[in-house]
Amino acid sequence: MSDRGTWPGVGALILTQVRHQVRLFLRVPIGLFFTIALPLIMLVVFNAVFGDSTVASPAGEWPTRQFYTGALAAFTAVSATYTNLANTVPVRREEGILKRWRSTPLPVPVLILGQMLGALVVAVLGALLLLIVGVLAYGLEVDAAALPNALLTFIVGVLSFAALGMAISSAVSSADSAPAVANATILPLAFISNIFIPLEDPPRWLDLLGDVFPLKPFAESFQASFHPIDPATTPDASALAVVALWGVLGAVAAVRTFRFDPTPGSVSSGRRRQRGRQRST
């Protein structure tokens, strides 16, 4: 056996993958629009329309302009992870990109981790952008004492939604249906999770429904750290537990169902393409 030198370090491999994923994201205008620009537009529009009203909270009246920033920052993070992965992984699978990576010596966990961490970096950038705009334009108050809690909630949230994004990407049958599946799952959830409209006295079943899924617990816990009167400095354990539980379920499902090929076990796409072509002799 010839001496082929040393392997690149795992850290370097992960870093290369994460940079690659972020670079890909930044070069896809539609992803940039839906993940970064759209929440920003919503922030501006919602505040222009509803900004002067208040949201009732146990600690006192909460100006809507401050309420929206946290909710939409959380939503951006979910778009960057869940929606982004649910959209891009099926495309990579269908175009044979995952298959190509699998034929290289890149360890599979690094490949998957790279996609998740890349999404996580985008989530951080998007959420930070919204928070900065919130502070500068809409009087969002950031209490240093509540920041560790905000950060913890954020990390649990994005990891969970990244895992769920990987899981749903395996359930999507083709790249064409990926955007529909991603939006059909996340948008209705956003409406019952107080992201776009703070629901005043919702029916109890709707309230409970929102609590069962991970988006509302995540968004509310994250928002709570930016409450102007009583910012939460410790995590809402039960809310965070719901988010984490979904994340663990998502991770288990993702690991068990991850596929490199569009059609596992059957004839590969290469052969199908071959058969369609005329034999040239």
Partner: protein, 306 residues
């Protein structure tokens, strides 16, 4: 030393047996071409060797590894050019070669790889903007960026124009002189004839014949007889009918009738007697070894007829 040993390989998809008890032995440094019609089992075989497909049964060793173990060492030492793999459209050609090269122990410099495959002038183009032939060259680039000892090429020149094909052949010749083992599948018989040290012909999941291109031509045991037939349509049709009784694989190519026969003398005698009786002009006779393509068609046709 063997780079690849395959014994009794079987690959099944449900009820369909794509590869049927295949044996294969490919030496280190050899260029081996796997030929066969669509659905003959070439791609399934090669994907098992690459570790990208699970086999139903049989034993397979590739560079001393079982490819089913998906060992990192093996993936580092082989290069794979598939038909069904894509590349991220948003990155440039140079970025792609650097990105994929970075996972190997011994990556080749990006510029060198691009020069080798003839993509030097497209280094800054986004992968999504490449033409079909350029995409294929990028596939080749990503196949060799890790300095593989063994390279798999699944129809490497499909979609190439003649000059690009010649260039790809020169590349394979260059890799061969570096000592690289190459396993390729192809539809083009002249490609196999030009590139391969040995050729294996697959049909219905089995290896029906194997040898050097020259070997195969000899071993077919048949001679190609071709001639031009004077007169009109009627005479041509009559001559064709007669040819069909004398040999097989009768074809009409550019006004010439071709047939493969194991009994040349008898065939020539029958043809000339018929021509004299009918006062038909037969000229530009040729009696030659069949080309690899004709042998291939004969073999595959024979296997299908079983």
């Amino acid at each position: 030393m063997s780079a690849i040993t395959v014994e009794n390989l079987v690959v099944e998809y449900g009820d369909l047996r794509a590869v049927d008890r295949l044996d294969l032995d490919i030496a280190s440094g050899e260029v081996y071409a796997l030929l066969g019609e669509n659905g003959a089992g070439k791609t399934s075989t090669i994907e098992v060797l690459e570790g990208l497909r699970t086999r139903t049964s049989g034993s397979v060793r590739v560079l001393g590894h079982d490819p089913a173990d998906a060992s990192r060492d093996l993936r580092d030492r082989i290069g794979i050019v598939l038909q069904s793999t894509g590349v991220e459209r948003q990155i440039t050609v140079a970025e792609a070669v650097a990105l994929y090269g970075a996972v190997y122990r011994r990556p080749r410099p990006v510029g060198e790889v691009l020069e080798l495959v003839g993509l030097g002038d497209r280094a800054e183009a986004r992968c999504g903007t490449l033409s079909g032939g350029q995409r294929r060259r990028l596939d080749l680039a990503l196949g060799i960026v890790g300095s593989p000892e063994l390279l798999f090429l699944d129809e490497p020149t499909t979609g190439f124009d003649p000059s690009a094909r010649r260039r790809a052949w020169e590349l394979v010749d260059a890799l061969r002189s570096d000592g690289m083992t190459v396993v390729l599948t192809t539809h083009y018989l002249d490609e196999a004839e030009h590139l391969a040290d040995r050729v294996g012909v697959m049909s219905a999941g089995r290896l029906i014949v194997e040898g050097t291109p020259a070997d195969l031509q000899r071993r077919s045991g048949r001679t190609l007889v071709s001639f031009r037939c004077g007169g009109g349509e009627d005479e041509l049709a009559a001559a064709t009918r007669l040819a069909e009784t004398l040999g097989n694989r009768v074809r009409l190519v550019d006004g010439r009738i071709e047939l493969l026969t194991a009994e040349v003398t008898a065939a020539l005698h029958a043809l000339t007697s018929w021509a004299v009786e009918q006062r038909v002009d037969i000229d530009s006779w040729s009696v030659a070894q069949p080309s690899l393509e004709q042998v291939f068609l004969d073999l595959v046709g024979g296997a299908e007829g079983e």
